[in-house]
């Protein structure tokens, strides 16, 4: 069987993240009879933000199953179904709710293969949506990749573009025999991508070098990849600063060599992540560099992530809570110029801020 869906050859054509998800969900059901989707509301008219809409009608309620409100058992049921020949695709409309399933994810899914000496496999895909903006608040906004990536046995990805999804999901479903957790960003759903990013050479479960640059390396995750690309373009145009941009993508299994090579070239590192920084992605990237050779860093690294607090709902606070295109560009300029007062014109927030502003729910 070939990969179910390929990126459109026509580069001019664009695909939204939502469309990419939908095509992968549909492709999984069409091409792999053992797959089924299990999640709250996957069969309703909104269809998990459009990513499963109409699929219950097309493939039947047995393939696209609404679930009770019961995250722990749904995950456990997914595991059991995987052990007996099915391939479950599970959905959490907010990653926050997956905290109710931590026992099944960490104690069971992550360990079933190893604990029994390789006698079982638990192939499954767990989709979790990261909420942001417009008053999501403390319990609808968490970006929990670090909790999962800490645990051996789990593969954790954060698709940043439609391409990432189209390359990775069908590949996982066809080739990967363990549990994969994918953190999708709610604010990416409406964004259309041109699909001209470099494709990973081997397994899509690794990192992606998206832009070459000699001055600073930006390692980013999820929606921060977009900000990093925009910041890099802005800095190149306005100040001749060339940032190298790496989409970490597989946060549990980053491409260490790609990161180290890049930092060795640029000497400067910024990590831009969607979560808190303590014990987070910036920490892990720092470890990779420090264990290898900290002398490749010509300056302290800079890190961007959520403020160290639960997420507040007031717009004024939410705006301070998240890193932005502007703070990222500012950080990079400061680092490369070497002064607080770097003189580089900062971008207006326009583009992405517009995206965030347009987001008004529903969840």
């Amino acid at each position: 069987m070939g990969v179910a869906y390929k990126i459109e050859e026509d580069q001019a054509q664009t695909t939204t993240y939502r469309e990419a998800l939908f095509r992968c969900m549909r492709g999984a059901l069409a091409d792999h009879p053992e797959t089924f989707i299990l999640g709250q509301g996957v069969d309703d008219h909104k269809g998990t933000f459009g990513s499963t809409v109409g699929l219950a009608e097309e493939f039947g309620a047995g393939r696209v199953m609404d679930s009770p409100l019961a995250e722990e058992s749904m995950t456990g049921i997914g595991i059991g179904a995987a052990l007996n020949g099915l391939y479950p695709i599970q959905t959490h409309i907010r990653a926050d709710f997956a905290l109710l399933a931590m026992n099944q994810i960490v104690n069971m899914a992550a360990k079933y293969k190893y604990m029994f000496g390789g006698r079982f496999e638990v192939p499954m895909l767990i989709r979790m949506v990261i909420g942001r903006s417009w008053g999501q608040g403390a319990q609808h906004s968490q970006s929990l990749q670090s909790l999962f990536a800490h645990v051996p046995g789990l593969t954790v990805i954060m698709p940043a573009t439609s391409d990432s999804i189209l390359e990775t999901y069908p590949w996982i479903i066809e080739n990967h025999r363990g549990p994969v957790i994918s953190l999708e960003h709610r604010l990416l759903y409406d964004i259309a991508f041109r699909g001209d990013d470099a494709r990973p050479e081997n397994s899509p479960l690794s990192s992606r070098l998206l832009r070459r640059g000699k001055d600073v390396t930006i390692v980013a995750t999820s929606i921060m990849v977009l900000e990093a690309k925009r910041a890099a373009e802005h800095l190149a145009e306005t100040a001749g600063i060339e940032a190298e941009v790496i989409d970490l993508h597989c946060v549990s299994h980053p491409d260490r060599q790609m990161i180290l090579d890049s930092v060795a070239r640029t000497g400067r590192l910024i990590v831009a992540d969607t979560s808190w920084q303590a014990y987070g992605v910036a920490a892990e990237i720092s470890r990779i560099v420090c264990e290898h050779d900290p002398s490749i860093l010509r300056a302290p690294i800079a890190t961007l992530g959520m403020a160290p607090a639960p997420c507040p709902t007031a717009k004024t606070l939410e705006d301070l809570y998240y890193p932005t295109l502007r703070s990222l560009a500012d950080t990079a300029a400061r680092m490369v110029v070497g002064e607080e007062d770097h003189g580089v014109t900062l971008p207006e927030e326009a583009s992405m801020a517009d995206v965030y502003k347009r987001f008004k729910g529903p969840f």
Binding site: H45, P68, L69
Partner: protein, 309 residues
């Protein structure tokens, strides 16, 4: 405001809630309320019927759908609108929004956007009430969907085991988002709860605040006497969409018939004289609250990292 009888008083309270939520609907398109809202329109009678028999110091825990209970328990209209606006004068200083209303000064303890997650908190508060002999009755309000979560089973068991002073109040609107109850539950809510040895009662007339008030009043009295936990399931009907301000009887997941049947019983739609009598005062209160919210300051940057640990 003085009332001729309990019906009028409860009517007033319920109307006050409905008008407040209708005002939210009006304001929403301006994007000044940047917060997902889960409206209780159609369900107000339960909130007022439940809260009326309670004392201020009786703690009540709610969910993301809590405007009604917040107001019925005595939370201030100004506090609520300011919180919806994300202003510093909101009940949680603008950090909470619609899904996390609170008013500890009147015993409205907290509301969580994670389904069922305040149920054990209420049981724990009841444990403290029992231990500290405060005389409080604790109330936990949750939807039919919440009963599917494992923690619900655990919470019923613990409350019954220790005969805690807690009232489990299930607002059964037959839906979790767009999913029908029969597609989610193999058990009958009351039959199931009764197997924990908890006295359960079902109220089919969830529009009838006086009936809810009477049922809850008796239950609360029993609990306060030390009879242990009680369980009440109220049937009710959500008029608007699950989250947001729209109507959604046209999108295919539920028919209009039951809406119309429910509305035919809804006192707020069927007693125009009372509506006319009460509306002016209510409108004034809401105008004032909105004005207060509009003119209140945003929380300052120093709030970002305040009150974390």
């Amino acid at each position: 405001m003085t009332f001729a009888n309990p019906h009028e008083q409860l009517f007033y309270e319920a109307l006050r809630i409905r008008r407040a939520e209708e005002r939210i609907i009006e304001i929403y398109p301006t994007d000044r309320i940047q917060s997902p809202v889960h409206l209780s329109i159609g369900q107000e009678a339960i909130a007022v019927g439940v809260c009326h028999p309670l004392r201020i110091e009786d703690p009540l825990f709610g969910s993301y759908r809590s405007h009604a209970f917040f107001l019925a328990k005595g939370g201030s209209m100004r506090s609520m609108f300011a919180e919806l606006y994300g202003k510093a004068t909101g009940g949680s200083g603008g950090k909470a929004g619609s899904m996390h209303l609170t008013a500890p000064e009147v015993g409205f303890m907290g509301s969580s956007a994670v389904v069922a997650s305040t149920i054990p908190n209420a049981v724990g508060a009841a444990l403290a009430a029992q231990r500290r002999e405060t005389g409080q009755v604790v109330v936990t309000v949750f939807g039919d969907g919440a009963t599917e979560e494992g923690v619900y089973h655990e919470s019923l068991n613990f409350a019954a085991l220790h005969q805690l002073p807690v009232l489990f109040l299930c607002e059964n609107n037959g839906l979790a988002v767009h999913s029908k109850l029969s597609d989610r539950q193999a058990y009958g809510i009351c039959e199931h709860a009764a197997t924990y040895g908890i006295t359960t009662q079902r109220c089919r007339e969830g529009w009838d605040f006086v009936r809810v008030n009477d049922l809850v009043g008796q239950a609360v009295e029993a609990i306060r006497r030390g009879d242990g936990p009680r369980f009440i399931e109220c049937r009710t009907y959500r008029y608007q969409e699950h989250v947001g301000i729209g109507c959604d009887h046209d999108v295919g997941y539920r028919p209009r018939g039951p809406l119309e049947a429910w509305q035919a019983n809804d006192p707020l739609l069927n007693e125009p004289a009372l509506v006319e009598a009460f509306d002016p005062a209510i409108r004034d209160e809401i105008d004032d609250a909105v004005q207060f919210a509009e003119s209140s300051p945003w929380p300052g940057p120093e709030q970002l990292l305040a009150d974390v640990a």
